[in-house]
């Protein structure tokens, strides 16, 4: 592929217009066409309220790691809703919209009239075309896709293929309606805009690419839990974690497992601890408000040394906050939340593939280190789709991490015996000769309550030593791009890391000495590696989707001068352009 492709396509409509479905088809078709695809939908918290649905798909010939700020192609299924997207249109962006020439365009109401003159307009009588082809207007979203394919030079066969895949199960009639609607749009635009399309963006010839699937972060987490041998899932509905429960509710029973919707998040984590205590892999997923309810029992897992796997899919907070917006403001809660010195393991994946692998890993870590493991994601990471090679876990990744007591301890078993690593072999109920009581009270090696200064000192140290020793099994921070000395080192975590990576790449292309550091293990921290990176940087920049700079708070003290914080609470993914701007400001000596 000679031409470098990097365009963002947006489909915008009211709930019911089929915008989300159209966006999914674009992702699927262009993924098959050999591109890297990253898609993200935005929808309201209200099921039938204001109802604006926007899907954005960024399509590239090179790896796409972040959402772009600008839109190059806007497909409007509803003018009133599309109007809000005008500020995001790139120079000479294409707009495909419903128009019925020669109808008079009323300046007060038409969104087209508000578009700046540089935009390329492709009006289509979407409803009429769909209606003529199928007798109903329902397929007009597909008609618009047909127009998009024709104008941008995409082989229609790719779309037909994915339409068939998507609608095959819904019966011949539905499939036919959708295919015909698409074809009507394609034929119309190919004829009507045969000359004008030369000014539009043209996709190079598409290469077939198989073996990749469009997968969201939540789907990847669900698949990972299945592949890890999950037996039980306990949860309570909450945006944006619910899709994990729904995915498993369909898939887990087929593997002999069970999903139980509990009465609240406290019950969910309680049941997860109970299951792991009895030896079965289990999991719960929630968001900030539910996570807050869980914290007491999470620290019970820390104290009683019971494994647990908890996904915290962050959303805007505090309290009920912004249920359908993305934010990274639960880092403090995840790492420190709850009573006491309660060190636990917190991993934050940065992309869909990591969502899969770190979820698989979390079960083994929880078993081996006998502690709750929190997988910290966010709305954007949970809901965005990436085309990835179908992930598979190796036997080493899914292997049981339990450490059982040796036969020599039978009859004289010390559940919480003090060891070098802090890990004490753990018996499971049903094992003869190892009876013990797990407790959230401070306890002796035998597990009996004891509040003496000696015991609390030794046991607190044991629990922390254990977590520190987990560092060896946790993914190390990764440096992207070499150079001994750096003008700016950008440190990112979670979904923001993609934006950090893109910003760093772009800045380097401009000749700037910058690099990125990805931190996925938030607790425990690889302080030596982080410090090593910081030492090479004149400036350390930490962009995060929170106000307080929660990662900066966690690692800032490792740098010899204050780290530069870049914080956004817009509820939207971090735009790489803002990071690029900050890098340039820092290098060119502007006030940090």
């Amino acid at each position: 592929m000679a031409t470098v492709v990097d365009i963002t396509v947006e489909v915008c409509g009211m709930a019911g217009d089929g915008a989300i479905a159209a966006g999914a088809l674009i992702n699927e078709a262009l993924s098959r066409g050999g591109f890297s695809v990253l898609g993200f939908d935005s929808y309201p918290a209200e099921i039938r309220g204001f109802g604006r649905c926007v899907t954005r798909s960024r399509i590239g010939s090179e790896e796409i790691v972040a959402m772009g700020a600008e839109t190059h192609v806007l497909i409007s299924l509803n003018e009133a809703e599309a109007r809000s997207r005008i500020p995001f249109l790139a120079h000479r962006a294409m707009v495909i919209f419903e128009s019925n020439p020669p109808t008079y365009v009323h300046h007060d109401s038409s969104f087209v009239a508000e578009l700046p003159p540089d935009k390329l307009l492709f009006g289509m009588p979407l409803s009429d075309l769909a209606s003529e082809a199928t007798g109903a207007t329902r397929g007009r979203n597909l008609t618009a896709l047909g127009g998009f394919a024709a104008v941008c030079g995409i082989n229609p066969a790719l779309f037909i293929e994915v339409i068939e895949k998507k609608f095959k199960s819904k019966g011949e009639k539905v499939l036919h309606t959708n295919v015909k609607s698409f074809e009507a749009g394609y034929a119309y635009a190919a004829k009507e805009y045969s000359e004008k399309r030369e000014h539009a963006f043209q996709f190079p010839e598409l290469l077939r690419q198989d073996g990749k699937v469009m997968l969201s972060g939540n789907q990847a987490i669900g698949m990972a839990a299945l592949d890890a041998g999950l037996k039980l899932y306990f949860g309570y509905p909450i945006t944006p974690a619910t899709p994990i429960m729904e995915f498993l509710a369909a898939a887990l029973p087929k593997k002999g497992g069970r999903v139980v919707q509990m009465e609240d998040e406290i019950a969910s984590i309680g049941a997860v601890l109970g299951s792991f205590y009895a030896g079965a892999r289990s999991m719960t997923a929630t968001s900030g408000p539910g996570f807050a309810l869980m914290t007491e029992l999470i620290t019970h897992g820390v104290m009683a040394e019971i494994p647990a796997v908890i996904v915290n899919a962050q959303r805007g907070g505090p309290a009920t906050g912004l249920p359908t917006k993305t934010e990274q403001s639960d880092l403090h809660a995840a790492v420190f939340g709850g009573p006491g010195d309660s060190a636990r393991i917190v991993i934050a994946p940065t992309n869909v593939s990591e969502c899969y692998h770190y979820t698989v890993k979390s079960f083994q870590l929880a078993e081996k280190y006998q502690t709750p493991v929190i997988v910290l994601t966010d709305f954007y990471l949970d809901n965005r789709v990436e085309n990835v090679v179908i992930p598979r876990a190796s036997e080493a990744e899914t292997r049981n991490g339990n450490v059982f007591p040796p036969a020599s301890e039978k009859g004289n078993y010390k559940r919480y015996c003090l060891t070098e690593s802090g890990i004490s072999p753990r018996a499971l109920p049903g094992m003869e000769g190892y009876i013990f009581t797990a407790t959230g009270l401070e306890h002796t090696e035998k597990g009996l309550p004891d509040y003496s200064p000696e015991v609390h000192t030794l046991m607190t140290e044991k629990r922390h030593k254990k977590i520190a020793s987990a560092l060896a099994d946790l993914p190390e921070p990764e440096v992207y791009f070499g150079d001994d000395r750096l003008d700016v080192g950008v440190i990112g975590w979670g979904s923001t890391f993609g934006s950090v990576l893109e910003a760093t790449r772009t800045s380097r292309k401009k000749g700037l000495r910058v690099a990125a550091l990805k931190i996925t293990s938030l607790s425990p921290l690889h302080t030596t590696i982080i410090q090593g990176f910081m030492e090479r940087c004149s400036h350390v920049l930490v962009p995060e989707l929170n106000y307080e700079g929660q990662l900066a708070n966690l690692i800032g003290h490792l740098h010899h001068r204050p780290v530069v914080r870049l914080n956004l609470v817009t509820g939207t993914p971090f735009p790489p352009s803002m990071i690029i701007q900050k890098i340039e400001d820092l290098i060119h000596g502007e006030a940090a």
Partner: protein, 265 residues
């Protein structure tokens, strides 16, 4: 001829060392002398011995409060959780390994106040857990505050003018929540408790044991031994526990009748 004491003692030691049926742990209960929990402890031990359950296949899950300490005094697997969360944790244990016999133990504060939100759902899920609620109508471990089952007007340091709330009837709640087995019992009658426990453990599904007991330290006026002994009486001989309508009536109108109130057919 009488068996000499040293021979008897040796026999007792042999039985003890065989470990076959020794559900009592080495730890001495920390309950106050005269506490009703000793009676319940004895009854549960009796139940475990009589059912001949291998003790390593038994898990006692508890919450916080005087009753929460139970697992430490039991030679079974134990899980002493946080306040009010006994039932969901027990749910996880049972679903993870259905071969285990699971007892959930807690007081009236643990089960009806902080944990009251779990009770209906665990009962209606009908998971095979045996839930023992030790109901002495007082918070003992925090030194005598009113509980959800304290009668209206209860005077404590936390309620010097007397409580204004109506007390909850745990038996009635369990019936409403669709428990499969409901027994109302008295800590002063360990044999009665043991008999009901044996029945309840054998009944599949969620079994609830509402056990009236006395806090000798912080309740000198209401659920005293003297009062309980006076109030408690067995269910009528012809009582049919499989009739849910009867059970509601009994739970409502004669709330010190003891025995198996309800058993789903």
């Amino acid at each position: 001829m009488k068996t000499p004491g040293h021979v008897l003692a040796q026999r007792i030691r042999d039985i003890g060392e065989s470990g076959a049926f020794r559900p009592r742990s080495d730890a001495l209960p920390t309950w106050c002398p005269g506490c009703g929990y000793f009676g319940i402890h004895q009854a549960l031990n009796q139940c475990l011995s009589r059912l001949e359950l291998p003790l390593h296949n038994v898990v006692v899950v508890s919450g916080i409060g005087c009753a929460g300490r139970y697992p430490f005094f039991s030679h079974t697997y134990g899980l002493h959780t946080v306040h009010g969360r006994t039932l969901p944790v027990a749910t996880g244990v049972k679903l993870a390994n259905p071969d285990l016999t699971v007892f959930a133990i807690g007081g009236d504060g643990d089960g009806l106040a902080i944990g009251g939100g779990h009770f209906p759902h665990v009962a209606r899920r009908n998971i095979d857990i045996n839930y023992l609620l030790f109901d002495n109508s007082i918070y003992g471990l925090t030194k005598g505050q009113p509980s959800p089952s304290s009668r209206t007007g209860t005077i404590t340091k936390a309620s010097p003018a007397g409580t204004f709330e109506k007390p909850l009837n745990a038996t009635l709640l369990a019936l409403t929540y669709e428990a499969s087995f409901v027994a109302r019992l008295f800590a002063g009658d360990p044999n009665g408790i043991a008999a009901a426990l044996i029945e309840g453990v054998k009944t599949p599904g969620f079994a609830f044991f509402h056990i009236y007991t006395s806090c000798v330290t912080f309740d000198k006026t209401f659920k005293t031994w003297a009062h309980l002994k006076e109030w408690v009486h067995p269910l009528p001989d012809d009582y049919d526990p499989t009739n849910r309508r009867n059970a509601f009536e009994m739970a409502l109108e004669d709330d010190f009748s003891t025995g198996i109130i309800y058993r789903r057919d």
